[in-house]
C-alpha cells in the first residue's frame, strides 16, 4: 500500500454510532432513547428533501404526516418519474409466508454475505427487521402485488437465494412501489404539508458553522438560483452508475447533489463498490445512449455460450455442438449458468476479450433457449419470459424464439455513496442521506430485490425517527438569506455556470461523457489492476483538463438549457470518477463487485483480505488539487462469521 500513500492522507477514524446491546435490540433501544418533537411543535421545523424516488418520496411523506413542514425537490417534471420506477424484479421481505425457513436473521445473513462482508452489520439487521412493515405499508397504499387465487400475496425466489421472499407486481415492481409512495406524497402536497418543486436541481449544500442548513437550487425552467434554508437536509438522490456513461440508469441520474455535499465536507464512502448486472442487451453501435437490463431470471432456463474458436463468425445455428463453449457450465459445474452476478459478468468479459464475442459488434455472449424450448415447449417459455422476449425483440429487431439472445454485462447499481452513521446522518450534522445515495446496507455487492427495500426502509421507518431526534436535540439559531455562507454558495454556483458557458470550445458534453465512460469501463470496470487504475488516473486528469478547456455549451443560464444542466453533471461525474479510481486503487483486495486481478483465489474467484481491508473507506475533500483524506470505519462482525464465498 505504501507506494500509493502519496495519493491520500490518513485522517481520524469514523464512528458509525452503532447502539450497544444485542443486534436484535439495537434499533428498538435506540428508538426508545430518542428525543421527540411534540406534535404541536413540528410545524416550526422545515425539512428539505432532495429527490422523489422511493427514499425521497417516502421520507417527505412520513415527515409531512407527522406534521413537519417539508419542501421536496426533483429535476424531472413530476415526482412520479424518479428512477426507482425502472426496477423490475421485486422487493424482499422476511415475512416467511411460504413457510420455507425464512426469517429476519436469514434475510440479514443473506444480505451481509451477498455484500461480501463489507456492510455495517447493525444497519443490515435493521433493514431485515423493517422489511416486513414495508409490505404492509405498500399494500395499504394500494400497490397491486401479485396474488394467489385465494387472495393472498404471492412470492417468488429471486437472485439465487434459497427461500421465496420476493414480492412483485408483474415486471414493474419499482413502478408500482414508486406510484404508491408518489400517491401518498401527492396527498401531503394536496393538503399543503409538503411543498413540491419539480424541474429543480440542487447545485450546492449550504453549511453554516459546520451544520447543514440549506441548499442552493436552480429552477431549470427559468434559470433562477435561490437558497432554500431549513432545519435539516435530506439527500435521496440515487446512485452514480452514469459515471460509466453506458449503464442501466436513467439518463438523468447523476452524482451532483451528493458530490457537491462532498465538496462541502460530507464523507464519500466506498465509491469503488459498483454492481455489474450480467444480463443486459449489448450496445449496438456508437449511437448507444443507455443499456437495458433483462431480468436475470432468464438464466434459469437459458444456456450461455460462445463459439469455441475466436473470430468464428458463423451464425449460431451453424455452430455445431462441439464448437460451442458453454463456459459457465464447464467452469462451474455445480452452479452452471446460475453463478452469482459478478462471476457471470467477469466470465462473459473474459471470453469477449479473448475474441469469442458474438453479434455484429462481437460484444456479447449467447443466451440460448433452444434446449429449454425443446424440453418445456414454446408455450411455457412464452408464459415465463414472454414480456422479456418481446422487449428484446423490440430493441434488437431479432426474434429470441428463433435465434439466441445476445447479452453482455452492464453497470446497474452503486453500493458506495455518502457515509452515514446508524441514524443515516452524514458526518455533517443535519445532513441525512437515504437510499442508493448512501453507502450503508449493501456492502460491496447488493442482493437482488434489496434496493427497493432499502429505499423504503430508510424513508418510511428510519429517517422519520432519527431526523426528529436530531431536530429535538438541536438549538436552532435562524440563518438568514444574507449570511455569507448563503450568498457565497449562490455565488459559487453562479460562477460555475458562467464558467461552463464561457469556455466556448469545440467539444460537446456528450462526447466528453462518452470518453469518461470508456475510461471507467475499460480501466475500472469488471476487473481492475493497479496498472489499469494508474492509467485511468492519468486519463481522467487529462479528460478533466479537456473538459474545462474544450467544452461547448450554447445559450445562457437564464432559461431552460438542457445542455447546461448536463454539462454540470458531467463535470461532477469526472471528478467522482477520479475518486472512484483512487478508492479502487487503494483497496488492494477483491470483494463483491470490486475485483482486483491481483487478489484472486486459485480458481480465479474474488479473494478478500479481511486482515487489512475490513473497513469502510470514507473519503474527505481537502480542496481543489489536494489529495483527499481517508477516514476508516472499522467493521466489526458480531452476529455473523466471516467466510469465503465458493461457487465451484
Amino acid at each position: 500500500m505504501s507506494e500509493h500513500l502519496r495519493h491520500w492522507q490518513d485522517g481520524p477514524e469514523l464512528d458509525g454510532q452503532v447502539p450497544p446491546g444485542p443486534i436484535e435490540n439495537k434499533w428498538d433501544a435506540l428508538r426508545f432513547s430518542m428525543k421527540l418533537v411534540a406534535p404541536a411543535n413540528r410545524r416550526h421545523y422545515h425539512v428539505i428533501v432532495v429527490g422523489s424516488g422511493l427514499a425521497g418520496a417516502s421520507v417527505a411523506t412520513a415527515l409531512g404526516e407527522q406534521g413537519y413542514r417539508v419542501s421536496c425537490f426533483c429535476f424531472q417534471d413530476s415526482p412520479r418519474r424518479a428512477h426507482s420506477v425502472a426496477a423490475q424484479g421485486g422487493i424482499n421481505a422476511a415475512k416467511n409466508y411460504r413457510n420455507d425457513g425464512d426469517s429476519i436473521r436469514r434475510l440479514f445473513y443473506d444480505t451481509v454475505k451477498g455484500g461480501d462482508y463489507r456492510s455495517r452489520e447493525a444497519n443490515t439487521y435493521r433493514l431485515a427487521q423493517i422489511s416486513t412493515e414495508i409490505i404492509d405499508q405498500c399494500v395499504a397504499q394500494g400497490v397491486p402485488f401479485a396474488r394467489e387465487y385465494g387472495g393472498y400475496l404471492d412470492n417468488r425466489s429471486f437472485g439465487g437465494v434459497q427461500v421465496s421472499r420476493t414480492f412483485y407486481a408483474r415486471g414493474q415492481t419499482g413502478q408500482q412501489l414508486l406510484l404508491g409512495a408518489y400517491q401518498s406524497l401527492t396527498r401531503q402536497i394536496a393538503i399543503g404539508q409538503v411543498e413540491m418543486h419539480v424541474r429543480s436541481e440542487m447545485l450546492d449544500l449550504i453549511v453554516v458553522d459546520g451544520i447543514a442548513r440549506g441548499i442552493v437550487v436552480r429552477n431549470l425552467l427559468t434559470g433562477e438560483l435561490r437558497a432554500v434554508l431549513g432545519d435539516a437536509v435530506v439527500l435521496a438522490t440515487g446512485g452514480y452508475s452514469n459515471v460509466f456513461f453506458l449503464s442501466t440508469n436513467a439518463k438523468g441520474c447523476n452524482v451532483t447533489a451528493i458530490w457537491r455535499a462532498y465538496r462541502r465536507g460530507a464523507v464519500f464512502a466506498n465509491p469503488c463498490y459498483t454492481q455489474i448486472h450480467p444480463t443486459c442487451i449489448p450496445p449496438s453501435g456508437s449511437h448507444q445512449s443507455k443499456l437495458t437490463l433483462m431480468s436475470e431470471s432468464l438464466r434459469n432456463d437459458g444456456r450461455i455460450w460462445v463459439p469455441r474458436r475466436p473470430g468464428d463468425s458463423r451464425p449460431p445455428d451453424a455452430v455445431p455442438e462441439p464448437d460451442r463453449y458453454y463456459f459457465l457450465e464447464e467452469k462451474y459445474p455445480g452452479f452452471g449458468n446460475l453463478v452469482p452476478r459478478d462471476v457471470a459478468s467477469r466470465n462473459a468479459k473474459q471470453v469477449v476479450d479473448e475474441g469469442m464475442g458474438v453479434g455484429p459488434q462481437k460484444n456479447g455472449v449467447y443466451l440460448d433457449f433452444s434446449e429449454a424450448m425443446e424440453r418445456l415447449g414454446r408455450a411455457t417459455i412464452e408464459q415465463r419470459y414472454g414480456n422479456l422476449f418481446d422487449m428484446y425483440h423490440s430493441i434488437t429487431g431479432e426474434d429470441p424464439y428463433a435465434v439466441p439472445m445476445r447479452i453482455y454485462p452492464a453497470v446497474h447499481y452503486t453500493m458506495g455513496g455518502l457515509w452515514v452513521d446508524y441514524q443515516l446522518q452524514s458526518n455533517v450534522p443535519g445532513l441525512f442521506v437515504l437510499g442508493e445515495a448512501n453507502f450503508s446496507d449493501h456492502g460491496a455487492n447488493r442482493l437482488g430485490a434489496s434496493a427497493l427495500m432499502q429505499g423504503l426502509a430508510d424513508g418510511y421507518f428510519i429517517a422519520p425517527y432519527t431526523i426528529g431526534n436530531y431536530l429535538a436535540g438541536t438549538d436552532r439559531t435562524a440563518v438568514t438569506a444574507d449570511a455569507p455562507e448563503v450568498t457565497g454558495a449562490i455565488a459559487d454556483v453562479r460562477n460555475q455556470l458562467s464558467a461552463l458557458l464561457g469556455i466556448q470550445g469545440r467539444r460537446t458534453a456528450l462526447s466528453l461523457h462518452r470518453e469518461l465512460g470508456q475510461i471507467m469501463w475499460e480501466q475500472c470496470g469488471m476487473a481492475r489492476t493497479a496498472e489499469s487504475l494508474s492509467t485511468a488516473r492519468t486519463q481522467l486528469q487529462q479528460l478533466r483538463e479537456s473538459f474545462w478547456n474544450e467544452l461547448y455549451v450554447p445559450g445562457d443560464a437564464g432559461s431552460l438549457n438542457q445542455n447546461l444542466e448536463f454539462a454540470g453533471r458531467v463535470a461532477d461525474l469526472i471528478e467522482l470518477g477520479e475518486l472512484l479510481v483512487l478508492d479502487a486503487l487503494h483497496r488492494e483486495e477483491s470483494c463483491g463487485g470490486h475485483f482486483r486481478e491481483e487478489s484472486q483465489t486459485a480458481d480465479g474467484e474474488a479473494k478478500r483480505n479481511d486482515e487489512e481491508f475490513s473497513y469502510v473507506a470514507g473519503w474527505t475533500w481537502q480542496g481543489e488539487g489536494a489529495a483527499p483524506m481517508l477516514r476508516r470505519e472499522q467493521l466489526a462482525f458480531e452476529a455473523v462469521r466471516l467466510s469465503e464465498r465458493s461457487y465451484s
Partner: protein
C-alpha cells in the same frame, strides 16, 4: 440512413413557434428515436446552434418522461411503445419525419418539444391516493384480494402518465389517464372508502385544467404505450354518475 426532419422549435411559452428543417445523415437503424435526436443535437452543436429540447429519462419505456408526435401520431408508428423504445428500423432511408410536442391545451409548451404536464399531478391531488398515515397499515395478508381483481387493478396501474392519451384525443381529453387511476384504486378493497369522493374530485379537476370531454373516439387506447383499455373509462363514468346522483350505497 439519411432522414429529412421537420422539427417544432419554440424558444419559450410566449414564442409562437415554427417548424425547422434538418437533414440528418448516418442514422443507424438500430438506434432509438431519441438516440436519433441525440445525433441531431450533436450536429446542431457542431453548427453552434441551440439543440432541440426534449424530455426523456429512463429510455426504457417506464418513466413516462418522453413523448412526441411523430407524423401526427403520439409516440410514433409502433403501437404499445413509448418513443424511447421506438427504433429507427421502423423508418426508411430518405424518410421525411415531422416531430412535434404534445398539442394539448392543458399541456402548455415550455420549449421546443418539452411541455408542462403539471395538470396530471394536480388531477391526482384531488383523490388519486388512499388516505392513511404511515404506521397504521394492518398486516398485509389481512386484506385479501381475488387474483382477477388485483390483475385488473394492475392493468390500470401500469399507466406511466406520459400524456399520449390526451395528445391523441381530438378533444384533448385526459379521460383515459384519470380513469386509469380511478380504475386502479377502485378495483381494490383499500380504495373503496374514498371511491366516489375520488371520482368527483378527479373528474372536476380534469375539467378545471381545461382538458376536453370524452366522446368515445378511442384514439387514447390506440396510442397508449401500456395499452390501457376503454373499459376503465366506463367504470369511471359509472362511479362519477353514481357519486353525483348520490347513489353510492354508502
Amino acid at each position: 440512413m439519411k432522414l429529412h426532419l421537420r422539427v417544432w422549435r419554440q424558444s419559450s411559452a410566449d414564442d409562437r413557434g415554427r417548424f425547422e428543417d434538418h437533414e440528418l445523415d448516418g442514422v443507424s437503424p438500430d438506434s432509438s428515436f431519441l438516440e436519433m435526436l441525440d445525433l441531431l443535437n450533436e450536429q446542431l452543436l457542431e453548427q453552434r446552434k441551440m439543440p432541440v429540447a426534449f424530455d426523456h429519462d429512463c429510455r426504457e419505456g417506464i418513466c413516462g418522461m418522453c413523448g412526441l408526435m411523430i407524423d401526427g401520431v403520439a409516440h410514433g408508428p409502433v403501437p404499445g411503445h413509448t418513443v424511447c423504445q421506438l427504433h429507427m428500423r421502423h423508418f426508411k432511408d430518405g424518410d421525411r419525419i415531422v416531430i412535434e410536442p404534445w398539442r394539448v391545451a392543458a399541456f402548455p409548451v415550455v420549449q421546443d418539444l418539452v411541455v408542462d404536464r403539471g395538470s396530471f399531478d394536480r388531477i391526482l391531488q384531488r383523490g388519486g391516493f388512499i388516505s392513511f398515515a404511515t404506521g397504521t397499515a394492518p398486516e398485509a395478508n389481512s386484506i385479501l384480494i381475488p387474483k382477477d381483481r388485483v390483475d385488473t387493478a394492475m392493468d390500470a396501474a401500469t399507466c406511466i402518465g406520459c400524456g399520449a392519451c390526451a395528445a391523441a384525443c381530438p378533444n384533448g381529453s385526459a379521460t383515459l389517464f384519470t380513469a386509469a387511476k380511478i380504475g386502479h384504486l377502485g378495483h381494490l378493497p383499500q380504495g373503496q372508502p374514498e371511491r366516489y369522493r375520488r371520482a368527483i374530485g378527479m373528474v372536476e379537476q380534469m375539467d378545471a385544467e381545461g382538458f376536453g370531454g370524452c366522446t368515445n373516439v378511442g384514439a387514447c387506447t390506440s396510442v397508449c404505450p401500456k395499452e390501457i383499455g376503454q373499459d376503465f373509462i366506463s367504470q369511471m363514468n359509472r362511479d362519477y354518475r353514481r357519486a353525483v346522483l348520490g347513489r353510492t350505497g354508502d
